[in-house]
């Protein structure tokens, strides 16, 4: 019996040797298969600690280490050159030995056969091989129906000059939601309308393939609104590709509320509303935008927004530093200093952080690695953290990039007096030696040892591929609720933008405008895309990535709290003491009032997603219901409701007025009916209270809590 088995083993090897001319390569045959089968994934042997005592590099990013692990570790017991099928690395995945991961390959699978053949030939790694370029075709394709199959061609160019089709041994990663399926090994079927991303991985290269599927085949007529603006051109053409209709424009009053909130964090006043509605000139939109852009409120609000972006917050006993930092930022916003200059100042500032506000940037993080991560996220829109422990599995970043980048910041002295020249090293965890400073992704530099200065020069150079798109995308999210690349600080080769050419053009335009905020904002808010209505008449729901209409964006908690106050206490609207009565003024979220803490349910997170705020938790609901936040202002003697009461203003006037203040619209018939039903049988005193109740409801309604 035993003999029979062994004999069959020989036959198998014999067969393979005959059928396989060249020797299988560990790097470009065996390891890609292991990736494809999931052996070296993060939840298996690719995890930092390995699995079952066997560690492989994540997605085969380190073939030399994998060779060691397979061939030499465990006294070489993982392979058996005489009887390859008795090798642990083969007997386990094929199920002949207990394997935590179960059976993942059949005996006659290409993987089993290649592995057996490779081991039989001595399990050698004679010529290490790297993939120089992975060519995937097509990478962006539009289909009209799921009948249309997309055939992929995948070719690898190796460092040793060879080139081959690697379709069968590449890993095709489909989106998890079942929107794309694989047919016959190399054809993709798009099952659902929309835009989907499929990743192709081979060796250490990953390429994203974007597949779009039309929503409807009907021809969309030309939209004259497509031509006025870079944004509209791209948005409308993408909608047309997908068979989607661009929503009509929002009403003037809705647009005014939207733009006033976005530019100043405030609701439009009744005067502003009346004035805008009384104008009929075609440049009335532009004049509103110009007025808002030149207001103090704009400076305040964008200091708040950019302060959040930069994570400016007050440290214990750090009031002076906090003030200096905030003042620096406010000055930048007031003077419309370009982002390139601002970021250079932040990166290069030194000295007393109580005087030189920008120097506080270096005090945000406790060490060089954290600072490198934050700089990459903020100014390059990219997340390098993964590359701390291993080469980034979904991006270009290598461990050398991460630690070399961190090494740039190793000399920063993060005390009250910030210095960039101090000593300090970052140890590369693999070599144990101090990492050579480097600018991420740039292998060799003219300078042997780059400094933060070199990095700042590189980052803000007009041809830098990261900086302008990252800034544009961060700003885009402020106006549209999501990034063109989303999440907005996760630029990756494998996370393509929804509208890549638009992002590139906007980045270029930003460069031409000297990276200044105001021209950029003006262009955005005057676009037709920004002006689309948010109301969806036919109830049709569409992926928000295509900007067919405006989505509901929850107000920041601070803006919401200020808006409540502005509606109920208009007389205190511009009452700005040194620390301000407005919640947006102290941009320090950690020390915010208790109301803000409750409303900012997601404070603990680094990046709050919009819908975290939109869907209020029970604690926030109870707070709005039972705390002072709204209740005290409803009955405040100086509040609008009590003033009207004293002046005996007719109830229906009060009601209309409050709707206009809060929502820039009149009550609907339905809303009038609700009011009349409840109020008709009540005496005047009860009606006053009932109005308070209605106003409370108005201020907690979704329509009020969102910008739309």
């Amino acid at each position: 019996m035993f003999k029979l088995t062994w004999l069959m083993g020989y036959c198998l090897i014999g067969l393979l040797s005959a059928s396989n001319e060249g020797e299988p390569s560990l790097d470009s045959d065996i390891l890609p298969w292991m990736t494809k089968l999931g052996c070296n994934a993060g939840n298996c042997h690719g995890s930092a600690a390995g699995r079952g005592g066997f560690h492989l590099s994540l997605f085969a990013s380190d073939p030399a280490a994998d060779y060691e692990a397979i061939v030499h570790e465990l006294e070489g017991r993982r392979i058996d050159r005489i009887f390859p099928e008795r090798s642990l690395v083969l007997a386990k995945p094929t199920g002949y030995l207990d394997h935590g991961g179960g059976i993942i390959a059949e005996d006659d699978s290409p993987f089993s056969e290649l592995l057996a053949a490779w081991i039989g030939k001595g399990a050698k790694r004679t010529s290490p091989r790297a993939t120089l370029h992975l060519d995937v075709q097509p990478i962006d394709v539009l289909v009209s129906s799921s009948e249309e199959l997309v055939e992929l061609q995948i070719r690898a160019q190796y460092s040793d000059g060879h080139e081959e089709t690697v379709m069968s041994k590449s890993s095709i990663v489909l989106p998890d939601d079942g929107s794309v399926s694989l047919v016959d090994e190399n054809k993709l079927r798009v099952l659902r309308p929309g835009q989907h991303t499929v990743l192709v991985r081979f060796m250490d290269k990953v390429v994203a393939v974007t597949l779009s599927h039309k929503f409807a085949d009907a021809a969309i007529p030309d939209d004259p609104r497509a031509v006025e603006n870079t944004i509209d051109k791209h948005i409308v053409s993408r909608l047309r590709d997908l068979g989607l209709t661009f929503s009509p424009a929002a009403s003037d009053s809705r647009w005014l509320r939207r733009v006033t909130l976005d530019l100043t964090g405030r609701l439009p006043t009744l005067d502003e509303l009346n004035q805008f509605q009384s104008e009929s000139s075609s440049n009335r939109y532009e004049s509103v935008v110009d007025r808002l852009l030149s207001s103090e409120a704009f400076v305040d609000f964008w200091t708040f927004r950019l302060g959040r972006w930069l994570k400016i917050h007050e440290q214990p006993k750090g009031r002076a530093a906090f003030e200096a930092y905030r003042n620096w930022l406010r000055q930048c916003v007031a003077l419309d200093v370009g982002f390139d200059r601002m970021v250079r100042e932040l990166l290069l500032a030194e000295g007393d952080s109580h005087e030189n506000g920008a120097a506080n940037f270096h005090r945000l993080c406790e060490d060089a690695r954290k600072e490198a991560e934050v700089v990459a996220r903020l100014f390059m829109g990219t997340r390098m953290e993964c590359a701390n422990c291993h080469d980034h599995p979904l991006d270009r970043w290598k461990q050398d990039d991460y630690h070399g980048f961190a090494a740039l910041f190793a000399g920063v002295q993060r005390e009250r007096v910030v210095k960039l020249q101090g000593r300090g090293v970052v140890h590369h965890p693999k070599t144990g030696e101090s990492a050579t400073p480097r600018i991420p992704g740039i292998a060799a530099l003219a300078q042997t040892s780059p400094t933060i200065q070199h990095f700042a020069d590189w980052l803000t150079a007009s041809d830098n591929a990261f900086f302008a798109p990252a800034i544009v995308n961060m700003l885009w999210k402020q106006f549209f609720g999501r990034g063109l690349v989303d999440p907005y600080n996760d630029f990756r080769e494998t996370n393509p933008a929804s509208h890549p050419p638009l992002l590139q053009e906007l980045a270029k335009e930003m460069g031409r405008d000297g990276y200044r905020l105001r021209p950029w904002i003006k262009r955005v808010v005057l676009s037709n895309t920004y002006r689309t209505d948010s109301e969806d008449g036919d109830g049709e729901s569409i992926d928000p990535r295509f900007y067919a209409k405006t989505i509901y964006r929850p107000l920041e908690a601070e803006v919401y709290v200020d808006a409540i106050r502005d509606v109920l206490m208009p007389s205190t609207r511009d009452d700005n003491g040194p620390h301000g009565v407005r919640a947006i003024h102290p941009i320090d979220r950690a020390n915010a009032s208790s109301s803000l803490q409750v409303m900012n349910g997601c404070m603990r997170q680094d990046d709050c997603s919009a819908d975290e705020v939109a869907n209020l938790g029970l604690a926030a609901q109870l707070h709005l219901m039972n705390s002072d936040l709204i209740n005290a202002l409803l009955t405040d003697p100086n509040g609008q409701l009590q003033i009207w009461e004293r002046d005996q203003v007719p109830i229906h006037e009060r009601l209309e007025n409050i709707f206009l203040r809060a929502l820039t619209r009149n009550p609907t018939t339905h809303e009038w009916n609700a009011w009349n039903d409840e109020s008709k049988s009540r005496n005047p005193d009860e009606q006053t209270k009932l109005l308070e109740d209605l106003v409370w409801s108005l201020l907690v309604s979704k329509e009020f809590r969102c910008n739309h």
Binding site: Y96, E535, G601, L622
Partner: protein
Amino acid sequence: MFDVYLNRRHWVRIGTLSVFGAITADLRRSTFAGTGGSDEKRDVLAKADSCILIWLDGGPSHLDTFDLKPAAPQELRGPFRPIKTNVPGIEISELMPNLANQANHFAIVRSVTSPLGEHGLANHYLLTGHPPSPTLRYPSIGSVVSFLRDTSSVLPKYLSLPESVSAGAGFLPSEHDPFVVAGDLTKPDFRIQDATFYPGIDAERLRNRRTFLEALNRRANSMYREEPSSVEVHGLSNDHFDRAFEMMFNAGAREAFQLGSEPESKRARYGSRKFGQSCLLAKRLIERGVPFVTVVYSGWDTHDNLVFNLRDGFTGAMPGVGLIPTLDQGLSALIDDLSSSGRLETTLIVVMGEFGRTPKINNGGGRDHWPRVFSVAMAGGGIVGGQVVGASDRNGESPLELPVTPADLACTVFRLLGIDPVQELRTRDGRPVAINQHGKLIKPLVGA
């Protein structure tokens, strides 16, 4: 060993050549199914109506609580001795005399193992049953229960006391974040924040407010449709403030939080500290139909001075009021109360933290992070008490028998609560994610 697997290989080879090929292949699969879990039929057990998770934040030392190693070398065994419990053969720390009298009620799993030794990552793994992923925040077990369980109670379905816990709703709607009961529970007149009527507002006026809000949201909801595939999961019902209104309208619900209505002797029995009072509040909540409560007890990250932190609490305390005696007092009171009222049978209690501590005591007299093996205690709700499940090795370094992963723990909790672990949830972008992946039922725990 070699022979065994050659035999198996041989069998399969023969099998593929014979008419029994299909059958042998199946046999082979089923041999491995236990680990892969794919073939195991995973129905629900539904023994428990509710769950109280005692979360020992920071990572409690298994070697000083439930898995002492008196025979280990001096530098490993630690300052505390084991004592006998009321179950022959089971010993626990001398700092837990009350729990020692209740060992018949709980089971100790001594072979929990995880690869994650950093607080944030390990928290996520233990609290959700999923290893952390950079792309997806998984919901905690309590949030999943909150999401799936319909209760008749108007109380929140998932609460955390007396502070928040690090894992929340994850990709589920944030309304399934735990409702955090903050405030000083040790005060005689403790009341939860914002849960009493504002002066001048009564139920009648709240009802008016609700009517108006519904009228207003009718309009907004017809507009708010930008998230296509997520209507079910991310419906906007919570925007109607329904639960908040119901809570305010229901005197019984508000009364649940009034610890002051408990007799002084009972409050004392649980211990005067926050932990004990939180256990008492947790008991009141589950008695009123809340399906999941996490009691957060922090401070277990004992990198130094075990004697001080775990036993004494403050210098010269006699007896000690450190972490373990406080745990012993509050938890034993909870088990007592629940078992005498008969509620323990339907209430699952899970006592765990994110990892264990290093067997070797460090220079500061403490122990550092150690996820490779640690202990979890469970009681009630379908757990067969009076047993030890699994074992660690001689020095408490690695699992010796029956390694149990955090995913297995979560799977077991879900099944006891009547939730099918293979059921799928949907993320915001419509991606289906199984409630529990790679976990399997810890059979001895439930007597299976």
